[in-house]
Structure formats: structure tokens, C-alpha cells
């Protein structure tokens, strides 16, 4: 029974991270969602050993750097003339530095097809953030700090996106965050029933609807600034 709860908890986390990643993906053209989702999946798997067994959490500290290397190699194989790990790491660091420069220079939407460096940078940002969140939420089983880390990623997407906002993303985030909170409680309890899930998800949905109705009744939405080509803070 606990295995099912762990699986649901893991899936909720993946869903939460993918929601945030899809928001990040919208800052450039063409979409690199497949690369970013791959980064999320690898980061989640690398950060999850503590979920399988509580004492296995140190394994995540080894797996996370390996996963990062895997993501880098998958997108940009190192040139054959480079010898040794040190030279390869220097190469990838120079690529990431170039990505930072491109990000700082170009306006939104970013052009992912022109250079690979900014794509590499974004995938590494997503990987690092999701990996940290996975380590905290899955290995250390602290759901709320994990949600907050993913919220930072999502918030970054909200502040830099120039396209029209869509409602489903924050609602999906709230729903999945509610699932994570509920399931993390269930992992600590011996007894758990389906009604727990219904009540937990119900609470999250009622809270979302309340927030939505409050938002609809206030001028905050209209006050949101359009930021075409504007760099987020």
C-alpha cells in the first residue's frame, strides 16, 4: 500500500515540475519542451533514492551530478579531441557561459534554433532546480520546501513570459501541490484510505476556487503589466 502512495507522490512531483517547466519553455521559440521534460525526469530520478528507502538519500548526491553530465552530453556531445573529464567539463562550462551571455543580450522570445548554448543553459537551470526540489521533496520527504523550489521556477516563468497567460498552469500547480502535501502526510501514516485523497484534493480545489473567485472580484488581474520584450526581475 505504501508503494502505491510513493508512486503517486512521485508522479505528483513530476507533474508539478513539468507544469513549471512548460511555463519556462514559453520564453523562447521553437519549443524545447522535450529537452526540458527529459531534464525534469532525469532530475527526479536522480533525486529520488530516499523515496525508495529512507536511508538511501546520500545516493542522490552522487546521482545528481551524473544526471547533469548526462543531460549535457545528450544535447551537445563533447568534441572528440577533448581528453579527460577536466577538459570536457571546461568545454561545457564555456558553453554555459556563452548561454548566459546570449540570454543577457537577446530579447524575448529567445531563439533556441540559432544557438545551442542558451538551450543548454535553460535545460541545466531546469535540471538543477528540479534536482534540488526532488532531493528535498522525495529523498528528504519534505514536501513543502520542494514545492517552494518548484514555485521559484514557475514564478520565473510567470515573470518573463510575454504571451497571454493561461489559467490551467497555476490551477494544475495548486492541484498537484495539494496532492503532494496530502500524499507526504500519508507516507508518514500507517493507515490510509481513498477518502483521505478525496478530502485532501477537495481541500486543495476548494482553496483554488476560493482564490480564483477572490481574484475575479478584485482589480489585480487588470493591474498585471504586459511585458512584451521586457526582462523580468
Amino acid at each position: 500500500m505504501k508503494g502505491l502512495r510513493k508512486l503517486l507522490y512521485l508522479l505528483s512531483f513530476v507533474g508539478l515540475a513539468v507544469t513549471a517547466t512548460l511555463e519556462i519553455d514559453r520564453i523562447g521559440r521553437p519549443s524545447i519542451a522535450a529537452v526540458l521534460v527529459l531534464a525534469v525526469v532525469v532530475a527526479t530520478l536522480a533525486g529520488a533514492p530516499g523515496l525508495v528507502h529512507r536511508r538511501a538519500w546520500p545516493a542522490a548526491l552522487v546521482l545528481l551530478p551524473l544526471g547533469a553530465y548526462l543531460i549535457l552530453r545528450a544535447q551537445l556531445p563533447a568534441p572528440p579531441h577533448l581528453r579527460g573529464l577536466g577538459q570536457q567539463l571546461s568545454f561545457y562550462l564555456s558553453q554555459l557561459r556563452a548561454g548566459v551571455n546570449t540570454y543577457a543580450r537577446d530579447g524575448f522570445p529567445l531563439d533556441f534554433s540559432a544557438t545551442v548554448d542558451v538551450k543548454l543553459l535553460l535545460s541545466m537551470v531546469v535540471y538543477a532546480t528540479t534536482g534540488l526540489a526532488a532531493f528535498v521533496a522525495l529523498s528528504l520527504r519534505k514536501a513543502l520546501p520542494g514545492i517552494v523550489i518548484v514555485l521559484v521556477l514557475l514564478g520565473f516563468g510567470f515573470t518573463t513570459d510575454e504571451v497571454d497567460r493561461i489559467l490551467w498552469e497555476p490551477l494544475a500547480f495548486l492541484f498537484l501541490a495539494g496532492c503532494m502535501l496530502m500524499l507526504s502526510r500519508s507516507l508518514r501514516r500507517e493507515r490510509w484510505k481513498t477518502t483521505d485523497a478525496v478530502a485532501g484534493v477537495g481541500t486543495a480545489m476548494i482553496a483554488s476556487l476560493l482564490a480564483l473567485s477572490l481574484l475575479g472580484a478584485t482589480p489585480w488581474r487588470r493591474a498585471s503589466r504586459g511585458r512584451t520584450g521586457e526582462r523580468g526581475t
Partner: protein, 426 residues
């Protein structure tokens, strides 16, 4: 009191942080998230407040009159009269000291107007009177944001009786024989002051003992039976010197001593003898037991309450109790169950024997209960000293036997089996 948990407080702080971020960057999504975090805490608070008040918990123990070693199960009936579902209840320290480990008991989430029964255990019951404090229930919402605590006023006392062995006869007071009719009554004495009951009149009995109310009620001439509370056939004394208890509960020499003393007293009661039970605690606790069902129940209750809290040495207080102390001046047969032997005790017993008292002794050897880490040399020295003291007692006419851990009380204490053993030895 209903209040946010640490997680609830953290979520409120995150709501505040998200709201500030929304104010700075001005995106409605962040406002939505911040309001939703706040609303989640609010909804959870209302849920817990509404349902927590309608939570009822009751507990019971099975079996109701457990004996040491019985599998003991605690049942909790948790009931929610609220229409709102989702309350998750935890019963804190609910099993008290009945459970070997102090565990909280979790209850599956309570639906609308639901009753659930959860059990804890089974654990082997440990002899004693266990006071279970009032139940403390903690109820949380499914997200773990808000918690309330409720205290239920009922306490529960569970008495676990010692497991006694039904001896067909006892080696230690074989010469006393059995009274006529098993639970027979002794004749009243001039000093009699304790009412024991009424029975039909026998020809020749003095008429001043006729119970006229009983006669009128039954239509038959009835007489009152009186007895002297100080006049028992047998006194069983249980050593409870705190510093002489060895072993890890419930595997201690004191527990075996309780079992042995209880089995001997029970055998005497079943044979129709009245018994005085003396427990060596902070002060001497004395219980007068009549040879009937009531007396045997009192024996179990007294032994269930027995705790090794005696501070003084047994030998020094024995003579005071039997020579100067009035309560037992008519008892002529004494069975002692002791945790350790010393010279002073042996001197006291020999003195009692010289005064004409029939004295028997059961020595529960501490060595067999000592942890394995204790040195074999010290155990051997202790055993040799005890053996010497037992020989001294035997030469003075005090019947004695030694019990070790794991000994079968039935074969060690009963007369026929002991005779069988002697025959085999010969």
C-alpha cells in the same frame, strides 16, 4: 485548541512571500497562488474546527480480567458525528504502560458520520495495576496544515493478575492437611470479631449465636459465624526488597516470587485454610484471605498490586512483625518467599522456629536472573553462600527450596511430584 501546524505556519509564510512577489512583478498568477495558499489554510482550519468538536473516542481492553502473559488487546472506538469528511485522528500515548513501546495510534481518515474501531496489540500482559491516563486525541486535516487536540476525561485502570499454578498439594505445609469440605469454616472463638456469614444451626450449638433475621428470612434456625482476623492457618510472606530485584521486567526474580507465593496461598485457600498474605513494601501490607471465592479473588488483586518497594532488610523486620506485632500472634505456620538469603534473615527464621512456629522458605535465586554480563565467579560465590545458609536452615528444621529461572512451579512445589522426585533420586 485548534491551531496551524508547523507546515500550516510555513504555508502562511509562503503565501505572504508569494503575495509580496506578486506585488513587485504584478502578475495575477502569483496573486492566485498566494490567495490559494492562504485559502487552503483557512479551509483546513474550518474543517478541523467543525469536525474536531464532534469527535468521540472510547477505549476498552480485552480480556477484561487479564492474567499475566495473556495476549492483551486495546480497542478504540473513534466516532465522528460531523457531516464533513477527512479528519485524521491520532491517539497519543493511548496504550499507556500496557504497551512495551509508547506508540501513538493512528486512525484511518474519518468520513461523514463514521465510526471506526482500531485495535492496538496484542502484547503479553504484564502483572500489575496499569493506570491509563485520559485519552488525548489529535485531529488533523488531510494536508496536515491545522491540528486540534481533544482530551477525553475517562481514565482506565487495567488490573493484570499474576498467573498462578494450581498445585494439587503443597510440599511446604503438607502436615496441615485439608480442612473438611475444602472451603470449610473454622469454629468461632471467644475473641471472634469478624463476621463471616450465616449457616444452618447444628444441634448443641449455643443459642446466643442464632441469627434471628436470617432465621426469619429462611424459616430455618440459622447461626452467625464469626472469626478472628488475626487467627489464620497460614501466613505467606513475600519479600519485596527493592534492591534485591534482578532481571529485566517481566523476567525478574520478583515476578517468579509473586507467582510462587500466589500459588502456595491459592493451594492453601483451596484446601480450606485461611491465609494471611504479607507483602514487604514500603510498609508491611497485610491481607486476610478467607478460604472461599472472595478470598481467592482478593489474593489475585493483592498480588497484582504487589510492587518491590521494600527499603528495609527482611530479617530485621521479621521478628518485630511476628513477636511484637499483634496481627499475627496466632498464626503458627509461615511460608516465606524471599529474593535473597542473608545471615540475619536465617537467624530470625531459626529464632521463630525455636519459638514453635512452623517455618518454610522458598528462595528465588537471583543468580539465574542476572544478566549474562555478570561474572560467573560472583554468581558461583553467591550460590555457594546461599547453599550454606539453606543447609543451616534445614538443620534447624526449616523446610526450604530454591527456585531458579524457568523452573516448573507445579513440579517444584507440589507434594506428590516432589515425593516422586525423591523416589527417583533414591
Amino acid at each position: 485548541m485548534t491551531r496551524p501546524t508547523a507546515r500550516g505556519v510555513a504555508l502562511l509564510a509562503i503565501a505572504g512571500g508569494t503575495y509580496l512577489a506578486a506585488r513587485i512583478v504584478g502578475t495575477w498568477e502569483l496573486y492566485l497562488l498566494s490567495f490559494a495558499f492562504l485559502a487552503a489554510t483557512l479551509v483546513s482550519w474550518l474543517l478541523v474546527l467543525a469536525t474536531g468538536r464532534k469527535l468521540q473516542v472510547a477505549r476498552s481492553v480485552k480480556p477484561e480480567r487479564p492474567t499475566a502473559g495473556d495476549p492483551l488487546v486495546l480497542s478504540f472506538r473513534v466516532e465522528s458525528d460531523s457531516l464533513l469528511p477527512g479528519l485524521q485522528a491520532t491517539l497519543l500515548h493511548a496504550a499507556g504502560d500496557l504497551s512495551p513501546r509508547d506508540r501513538d495510534i493512528e486512525v484511518e481518515s474519518l468520513g461523514s458520520r463514521t465510526r471506526r474501531v482500531v485495535t492496538s496489540g496484542p502484547w503479553p500482559a504484564r502483572r500489575g495495576v496499569h493506570h491509563l491516563p485520559p485519552l488525548l486525541a489529535e485531529a488533523e486535516d488531510p494536508l496536515g496544515l491545522v491540528r486540534t487536540r481533544r482530551r477525553f476525561s475517562d481514565t482506565l485502570d487495567v488490573t493484570v493478575f499474576p498467573r498462578l499454578v494450581q498445585l494439587p498439594s503443597c510440599l511446604l505445609f503438607a502436615d496441615m492437611g485439608a480442612r473438611r469440605g475444602g472451603g470449610g469454616r473454622r469454629s468461632p472463638t471467644l475473641e471472634a470479631s469478624e463476621f463471616r456469614g450465616i449457616r444452618p444451626y447444628n444441634a448443641g450449638e449455643p443459642l446466643n449465636r442464632v441469627d434471628w433475621k436470617g432465621t426469619a428470612r429462611t424459616g430455618q434456625l440459622m447461626v452467625r459465624e464469626m472469626d478472628d482476623p488475626t487467627n489464620s492457618d497460614l501466613a505467606v510472606l513475600l519479600d519485596g526488597h527493592a534492591q534485591r530485584v534482578v532481571g529485566e521486567p517481566p523476567e525478574t526474580n520478583f515476578e517468579l516470587a509473586v507467582q510462587a507465593a500466589g500459588s502456595v496461598a491459592d493451594c492453601a485457600l483451596r484446601a480450606g485454610h485461611s491465609v494471611t498474605l504479607l507483602l514487604h513494601e514500603r510498609q508491611w501490607r497485610q491481607t486476610r484471605l478467607s478460604p472461599d471465592t472472595k478470598g481467592r479473588r482478593r489474593l489475585l488483586e493483592s498480588l497484582a498490586r504487589a510492587t518491590p518497594r521494600g527499603a528495609s532488610q527482611l530479617g530485621s523486620s521479621l521478628r518485630t512483625l511476628f513477636v511484637n506485632g499483634l496481627p499475627l500472634d496466632r498464626t503458627r505456620t509461615l511460608v516465606l518467599v524471599v529474593l535473597a538469603l542473608d545471615r540475619e534473615l536465617v537467624r530470625s527464621l531459626i529464632a521463630l522456629r525455636d519459638e514453635g512456629m512452623r517455618v518454610s522458605l522458598i528462595h528465588v535465586a537471583a543468580g539465574s536472573f542476572a544478566p549474562a554480563a555478570s561474572t560467573a565467579a560472583s554468581s558461583a560465590a553467591l550460590a555457594a553462600e546461599s547453599q550454606g545458609l539453606m543447609l543451616a536452615l534445614a538443620s534447624a528444621g526449616v523446610l526450604g527450596l530454591t527456585l531458579d529461572r524457568g523452573d516448573d512451579l507445579l513440579s517444584a512445589l507440589s507434594l506428590k511430584r516432589a515425593q516422586g522426585r525423591h523416589a527417583q533420586v533414591r
